[in-house]
Symmetry: C2
Subunit: 344 residues, 2 copies
């Protein structure tokens, strides 16, 4: 069990039971009985030098902070409605800085009709952005805990792009500081592919429409957003459901840009995907008869869905390859550990 | 207009209208139409070295973070129900640190039945605690904007104690660093009075029961919690209501501990109260016929209520004394300005 999951377990032990708390700490969002139905509520902190570089543009920080919260609601099959935005920042940056963060968050919220209703400002020695977002699930809220043996595992989009993008940002910064010529920098990586990786890191696309589809249709048994790495997040889904998640190596979708940059960096693209994090794709379990429906992506999802594995009896998350199964449930970012792959 | 209020005005200009947002940014909490009635939602950040000293105990940080959010809901006449708690902290402090922050918040929440339902953890270079808290108003939510000429102004408790307590903390730290004997330190300040001031600063008591009484009875026209100083917060209530707030100097309640420590420090206790902040008392406007009911405090309020002034036509907040009126609407803490009284 990872340190942050261990923390959540200890925290849960402190909480008195409450009939109205349908899902408490430990899933992508909380679910609270409220009127006819339930509120689905999430919150995420973004911290300078941990989640973004000090030189990141304010609007991009705001867009990303909202996106990661939207992704949590998507993983619960829910429609975002309202959010709070709090910002700590160095006073010398002036009022324009938090306004630009807010503009970024608003630009991310607008397509989904989510409204900013309040927040707080404080000075501080580093930028910290905290968002709380809530909405409602049109169907039963989708949790991490309903996967059953026999289900298939599906994943949206092209994982690993965000981790590759972050590494590319660092490489470009290092080149720039050495006065290298700006282009071409990476053999085998086109300017479009560079852009694709950088965008995936800086401005990830939350899978709100796909999450709502899953929630409305009721076809997924369990879902999680892949924020810390496919390995650890598959392990979390497995643990919450009391099953084993089997990721099939040859099914993991690797886009050309990730494959090319993995070559440049001399790493295994699949390992990158397992440990990478920050992708904000949805991993979900659904019965085999839904596969055709899911693999024929709808335009409004904005991405494809790939079958990446299956749910079996047992525990943990494994990568199944030609040489057998490898435990991958500990690959990925732990917010309480040091020296994890993408967040030095 | 203060810089942080200016920020809120600029932010509001960015927000599209929404029928469900009954009160948006700029009051103590937001009010959102939700089911039969409305949700009342607030959030506050607490930042190390800004809102608390680096050596503050984790549990106390959690208690205070929850208290200031509870105070916002109290000022809206609302009952707290659920909260989210996010914590950024230095990893070397270990898991015990955020757990102690959570225990502190839970200990503050428990008497009011407010439940922790989620949150987020991150590493960071300084401690930042972010809470989002929501509940419902049993009556119509109380805002800052309903005060009318002819209303009286009332204030709970003994303002100025928190500001005095913070100064006392600093004095004690300075004495300790000089190797002075621990007691007696301040002529005219008993150990009980020292404790009273330190407690008011470290562990303020949100006026939840009083706020609920005001909300349920519908006798207050407007309310605000005094978080930044009686001067600036009276000015905010006046501005939101389109009236003038008149604080009568001889009515401002000055407890013995504040008076004694103000003597020691050679400051005017009333100026301290106007500019002090962090008191989390409720300032509210109510018609004259309610005065008897309000001034005969109920035990469950945990404090007294004092009539401190009146609402007149006009604008701004003034202190009315023997020598006329003095504008006090700019006295207090501005989170975007430097060198404000109690938050160096």
């Amino acid at each position: 069990v990872r340190r942050e999951d261990h923390f959540v377990e200890k925290l849960r032990a402190l909480l008195p039971p409450s009939e109205r708390v349908l899902v408490g700490p430990g899933d992508d969002a909380a679910v609270i009985a409220e009127g006819p139905g339930a509120l689905v509520v999430t919150t995420d902190l973004m911290v300078e030098s941990v989640d973004f570089l000090p030189e990141e543009q304010a609007e991009m920080i705001g867009r990303r902070a909202l996106a990661i919260n939207l992704s949590d609601l998507a993983a619960m099959g829910s429609r975002p409605e309202f959010f709070l935005l709090s910002i700590a920042f160095r006073r010398e940056r002036g009022e324009e800085f938090p306004l630009a963060v807010a503009r970024g968050a608003l630009s991310r919220a607008e397509p989904f009709g989510a409204r900013l209703v309040g927040g707080d400002l404080s000075s501080g020695s580093a930028t910290v952005v905290s968002i709380a977002l809530w909405g409602r699930a049109p169907g039963a809220p989708l949790t991490r805990s309903g996967a059953r043996p026999g289900d298939l595992l599906f994943l949206s989009g092209w994982p690993g792009r965000a981790a590759a993008g972050l590494r590319l940002v660092r490489r470009l910064a290092a080149f720039a500081s050495q006065g290298s010529p700006p282009t071409p920098r990476f053999v085998g990586l086109s300017p479009e592919e560079e852009r694709e990786l950088l965008d995936a890191h800086r401005d990830p696309e939350p899978r709100v429409a796909l999450g709502l589809f899953l929630g409305q249709e009721g076809i997924a048994h369990a879902a999680i957003d892949v924020s810390d790495g496919l390995g650890v997040d598959a392990g979390r889904l497995a643990r919450a459901s009391g099953v084993r998640a089997v990721l099939e190596r040859e099914r993991i979708p690797v886009c050309r840009a990730v494959a090319s940059f993995a070559d440049v960096e001399a790493v295994d693209a699949v390992d990158w995907i397992l440990a990478g994090g920050d992708d904000y794709e949805l991993l979900f379990a659904a019965p085999p008869e839904t596969a055709a429906k899911l693999e024929s992506a709808r335009p409004e999802w904005g991405t494809r869905v790939t079958r990446v594995g299956r749910v079996e009896e047992g525990s943990g998350a494994v990568l199944r390859g030609r040489h057998g199964d490898r435990d991958v449930s500990d690959l990925g970012y732990d917010h309480l550990e040091r020296g994890t792959p993408n967040h030095e």
